[in-house]
Amino acid sequence: MLDVEGLSKSFRGLRAVQNASFAVPEGAIVGLIGPNGAGKTTCFNMIAGVYRPDAGELRFAGQDIGGWRPDQVCAAGIGRTFQIVKPFAGLSLLDNVVVGALLRDKNVSAAKKRAAEIIERLGLGAKRDLPASSLTLPDRKRLEVARALATRPKLLLLDEVMAGLRPTECDQMVAVFRELNRGGLTILLIEHVMRAVMALAQQVVVLHHGEIIAQGAPAEVVRDPAVLECYLGEETEV
């Protein structure tokens, strides 16, 4: 469904992502992991249209989406969440999600109805009329997911939505994503919470210093010496 081929991006000489290639098959859940600063979010931002790749190709559902604007990428069927949450602080939780729903449901009352369903599904029903600014961080992360889901994506990009959640909350989220996946949603997630990655991902891609150092099934990847080295911080040449 998503094919990333030779993707590269530099910021003033700093190579954030170098020649990254991986694929997200339709119906899969793929985890993108790596230490802080490995280039995961940069990768996401290129897929979502925030940054234009310096080189490489991004193919989604048969279209070359490299260099598209974020709203075009979203309309093509890729929903995303932000690692640093960006709620519409002055709007109620429901209205936040309605904005997302209006992409496909142009009618406001239809959009409201669907937004309410999604909020319910993510366990935020009781808070739907509160301003988004009053939500706790875990709830804001849920709101990010709810908004992205409201755009009816075919592929969902999740950027550390489990961070800060308690283990039980984390498990609830995992259950929600599993259910969505069973319903046909393809998911690419960046995650530090290994509990969630191991539970969800069928395939894992490991980034380190902007380069992909391993990919494969989660159980294999975590035993890979290169992965262990970058995570456990073995001495490397400087």
């Binding site: 974020p70 709620p87 519409f88």
Partner: protein, 332 residues
Amino acid sequence: MRQLVEGVPRRGLALLAALLALLAVFPLFASGYLLAVGFLILYFAYVGQAWNVMMGFAGQLSLGHSLYVGLGAYAAAALYVHFGLSPWIGLGAAIAVCALAGAAIGFLAFRFGVAGVYFAILTIAFAEFARIGFDHFAWVRGSSGLFLPVANYAENDLWNLRGSPTMFYYLMLGLTVGAFVLCHALLRSRMGYYWLAIRESPEAAQALGVNLFRYKMAAVALSAAMTSLAGVVFAFYYNNLFPEQIFHISRSIELILGPIIGGIGTLVGPIVGAFLLTGLSEGLRELMLRLGIDLPGVKQVFYGLCLLLVVMFLPDGVWPPLARKLGLQRKR
């Protein structure tokens, strides 16, 4: 209509109806002076509402709205003076000219990533271009001013907008009510949701499929077009236009104070703000006159004081806390 009253507490509707009734019968017992004050209040309520579409809804700060008042006024007045065209036809020209001017400024800003205060400066710049440009624009008599022929006010001629202050008062009342209804509908539309989203977080809005350029352009063009109507009425009410006055930056500032004090982004805020500012400042002037005190600049000091108090104690404006106090919040 049903959508308009949905979710508004009964008390709010009763208050609104009472206010409308009061405004409707006001000219029957008001003196000429009071009627002029009433006209000014409605005028500022209207332009405040128009400005609010851009800033309060879509979050784009314009400090150059005098541009649209002036262009609208000049467009209709020049067509009337030169070709004898009715202001209602001039209105079409005014709307077109202002929507285009707004779109041009919006295009320059939004295409090239001019945002925030830099966008605000751009809006000032264009109003200043117009002020200086019109000073030398011979077709509209340049800096010596454009005057409309003043006929006797024996009969109200609505088609040519020649008539008594009462006629203008009702015209302005109609516009203010119309703008309120329009903004109410806009805020509940898809576009309204998108505007609020852009105001709150452009990045998040864009990630949800909102075409920022298109919706920001729509806000600027619509706000400009709405403001132009006030310009047309202004021209035919005062019968004289000077670039130095109508395009002046103080005019732009004056018209944004109402919504800021009343409550940016609210529907009632611009109206409350206009009542407070114009009503109180005229009252103050009258009081000073009675007391025989002659202090130039009292109005400006008064505006400054109001702004200071609101910024310090009511950062959301007067209306939101007032609505809570009165129990007038809309239920969803």
